[in-house]
């Protein structure tokens, strides 16, 4: 289905245009300065290809980014845009979203920008549920600074700053987002245009903060980081596609399923070795994030085996910015501010 059929509470107050838009309308005259072959190109194309379907007025769209290769994104979008500073895009975008319900606000960030220096702003944006769509380009590396490991790099990663291999345990962006009370969390892949677009659609529709982790390839400093999930030969067996209302089932022959074991934990099992009733039927709208969290834990950090993609969680919760506006509006309805009265205050005296 397309955005226009889908109810879009996240865009309820953003003015639409009647003019027909195409991807071209969102391209700028700036030459794109990513390395040839960078996964960012595919994401840019997908976003530019998807936006026309929303039919929003271009001037009511804002892209805000931090610093990093991925954060150059706004320069290539013919909308309003801010290329801010490292890690702070969610904070800046929060100020925009709170004050301007008529804008569709997108944040573009990287695994370092969002999860290293920007971690605090990210988790607080998710907690508050500010109406932002956050696209996290995860290439498991610091690209712009020429290849140091990032918080999503697998332990043991050899990089410029870790010649003998990195030692820290990596973040799972979906897990931490769920732990931070996110109302919408998804994961998709740069090279899967269809899945990426579908995911953007769901994110755009959502009211509140939508975090979309996009597995992106940095062919210069971390080439093939996600290959097992992309390679036609392996992806079916490695990748779990979450689909609402369907059993969590994958594998070339759809013979692998995710079940809830006796101990209460989730496990991947051989479909015909388990009782149907134990197979998890996926529901991104479940109030309890427990199951989504458990699904995010299946992925193997190194082999990438059993990595789930799709919308993990998509629940309705009033966005922070709406609550702010409603609180202010409520007060103003009751009584508009009177500056003269404010300045006078209660106890005054007059000298004549």
């Amino acid at each position: 289905m397309t955005a226009t059929d889908l109810p879009m509470p996240g865009l309820a107050l953003v003015p639409r245009t009647d003019e027909k838009q195409t991807a071209k309308d969102f391209k700028t005259d700036q030459e794109v300065r990513w390395c040839p072959g960078c996964g960012d190109y595919a994401i840019l194309a997908a976003v530019q290809g998807f936006l026309p379907e929303l039919g929003l007025r271009k001037e009511n769209i804002v892209f805000v980014s931090g610093i990093g290769c991925s954060s150059r994104f706004p320069y290539y979008m013919d909308t309003y845009g801010v290329h801010s500073i490292h890690g702070r895009a969610p904070a800046i975008a929060t100020g925009i979203a709170i004050t301007r319900p008529d804008l569709s606000v997108w944040v573009v960030t990287g695994d370092g920008d969002a999860l290293s220096i920007g971690g605090n702003h990210l988790i607080h944006a998710l907690r508050r549920n500010v109406n932002l769509k956050i696209l996290l380009f995860n290439n498991r590396i610091y690209g712009l600074t020429k290849g140091q490991y990032s918080p999503t790099s697998e332990t043991g990663k050899v990089t410029k700053s870790t010649p003998l291999g990195s030692l820290d345990y990596s973040f799972n962006p979906v897990s931490i987002a769920l732990g931070a009370e996110a109302s919408f969390v998804a994961r998709t892949v740069d090279s899967d245009r269809k899945h990426l677009t579908e995911t953007l659609r769901r994110a755009a529709a959502h009211e509140g903060t939508a975090l979309v982790e996009i597995l992106q390839n940095c062919n210069i400093f971390n080439d093939g980081a996600w290959e097992p999930l992309k390679d036609a030969g392996t992806s079916d067996d490695f990748l779990i596609r979450l689909v609402d209302g369907e059993q969590v089932r994958f594998g070339k022959d759809r013979d692998k399923v995710v079940v809830r074991g006796d101990d209460g934990h989730l496990a991947v099992a051989d479909a015909d070795a388990v009782d149907e009733s134990r197979i998890i039927v996926f529901d991104s709208h479940a109030a309890d994030p427990g199951l989504a969290f458990a699904l995010s834990r299946l992925a193997h950090v190194h082999s990438l085996q059993d990595t789930a993609i799709g919308v993990f969680r998509d629940v309705q919760r009033p966005s922070y910015d709406r609550l702010v506006r409603e609180q202010v509006a409520g007060v103003r309805e009751a009584r508009e501010g009177d500056l003269a009265a404010l300045l006078r205050g209660k106890d005054t005296w007059t000298v004549s």
């Binding site: 700028t28 700036q30 007025r57 271009k58 001037e59 009511n60 769209i61 804002v62 805000v64 610093i67 706004p74 320069y75 979008m77 013919d78 909308t79 309003y80 845009g81 801010v82 290329h83 801010s84 500073i85 702070r88 904070a91 800046i92 975008a93 929060t94 100020g95 925009i96 709170i98 004050t99 301007r100 008529d102 804008l103 605090n120 702003h121 607080h124 702010v324 609180q327 202010v328 007060v331 103003r332 009751a334 009584r335 508009e336 501010g337 500056l339 003269a340 404010l342 300045l343 006078r344 205050g345 106890d347 005054t348 005296w349 007059t350 000298v351 004549s352």
Partner: protein, 637 residues
Amino acid sequence: MLGGQWSRPVAPVDEEVKVSTQTKSVVPLGRVVIRFAGDSGDGMQLTGDRFTSETAGLGNDLSTLPDFPAEIRAPAGTLAGVSAFQLQFADHDIMTPGDRPDVLVAMNPAALKANIGDLRAGCDLIINTDEFTKRNLEKVGFTSNPLEDGSLDAFAVHDMALTSMTVEALSGFDISKKDAERAKNMFALGLLCWLYSRPTEGTIDYLEAKFSKKPEILAANIAAFEAGWSYGETTEAFSVRYEVKPAPMKSGTYRNITGNPALAYGLIAASQQSGLPLFLGSYPITPASDILHELSKHKNFGVITFQAEDEIAGIGAALGASYAGSLGVTTTSGPGVALKSETIGLAVSLELPLIIVDVQRGGPSTGLPTKTEQADLLQAMFGRNGEAPVPIVAPRSPGDCFDAAVEAARIAVTYRTPVFLLSDGYLANGSEPWQIPELDSLPEIDPNFATGPNREDGSFWPYLRDEETLARPWAIPGTPGLEHRIGGLEKAEGSGNISYDPDNHDRMVRLRQAKVDAIARSIPPLEVEDPSDDARVLVLGWGSTYGPIGAACRNVRSQGLPVAQAHLRHLNPFPANTGEILRQYDRVIIPEMNLGQLALLIRGKFLVDAIGYNTVRGLPFTSEELSTTITDVIGSL
């Protein structure tokens, strides 16, 4: 006979001054400095506030100085727990809360110990003897009881069992002993209101509002207050009472105001004048938090207050709001400014309006959170990477925080630039009578949003500058046809596209500086106050030292010595005539509550051999120390 029939005193401002009909003789005074001191739990701040309101209502000029510990409630009876409130009120205009109290109200030994050093011989000491137990005395290191060992002989001691008298006065009420004892500050307040012939209606009204839901407590507090009043009236403890006539003031309507609310009101006024919704992104920090608290009460002006996860998010959100067309403001104190440095640099590069309020406190690091200081000036000037000039405005008094805030907003919006507003702990919590401004006296502030293309070819360049102000166009999202991208990388002059061109960078660095320098054209010249007009010494100040410096200059002049005073409200850029003025004097003295920060800027820019007078004690200057310094310098000529 306590709690007996009660004749409520009438305010002197009333037609015929009835006070004189009272049984005790009334001595007129020109000015009085009172300091209330007690435990954090004794409600001294409230007592001071109430006395201040009554005094303001009487039309005296006044100035106050609260002084409390960083802990919420340090252990009872300890020096660390002492909380004090000082005010000076007079029948003429005054500029400071006074150097040394004429009257000290000491609710316990700690309060006496902590303040006795500031007392001059002969001053009145009102002491609550109930608290002078052996244990309490030991707690603060009194080896003997000062009430008995003669160590207070130099003072006029009025010792009284404040607590027990209060409890006795409230014996008739059905309240806990604790509540009864708590009311002792009302007893003290009543006594001082009697002593200085303050009206009482205000306090009664205040109590009625405060305890409307607790009638017993209300009645008890009123009774305690009145008991204190009649204690003065009926006992022999005080032979005379005093009165301080109203001070002649410019005609107009006045109120008493502290700096933080005044600053908050200024921001709201600027929002109204500019038509820009006010957005505050802030993270709580002493002594700035009250601005956040105040603004959060005024949603009816469309004000949005956002308590962020940290200082960086606070300013980030404010900058985002500015980008989107609001008046973005962030409030903090020194440590918070340090954290905001990088984002302030971004604001300089994006050239967007933004107000950064720094209510300075004692530093470095966490320092002295509840004390005042002026040591963030150079941080405001230079605390960012690269050449990143930011205008700086500093208020001179609590009431002036209002005007300074409006001025900061005018500069920010007109010149599309972040602006520092440097208040401090003394301005934030101190108060003074404030003439309520006429709305039509407020400056217009024109956001002048870009609405269309700014080039022949119908295109829009976000860095094409206004020739007069050098400000760039402010095109907010939602404006059709003006879609553009801006960021922290160096931008090509005009187009704003990323540019690594060496000459362009040099040009942009100079343009950003030139824009800030150009602000000087829009600000009033530096004014000098020199009645004699033949002073050879100029005292140059900035910020909250205005009062003490002014008072000191008066003292010096009253000794027949000419001295000139000038006070900078704009610290970046300086008023255009600053250098010219400085060169007119043989000596320039710059008193600062830091180690000489303005002095460095003045010397570096104007090569004037300015002398700094610097103490960094977390307290405002006394006019006494400044007078001495000035006199010495004049003498040295």
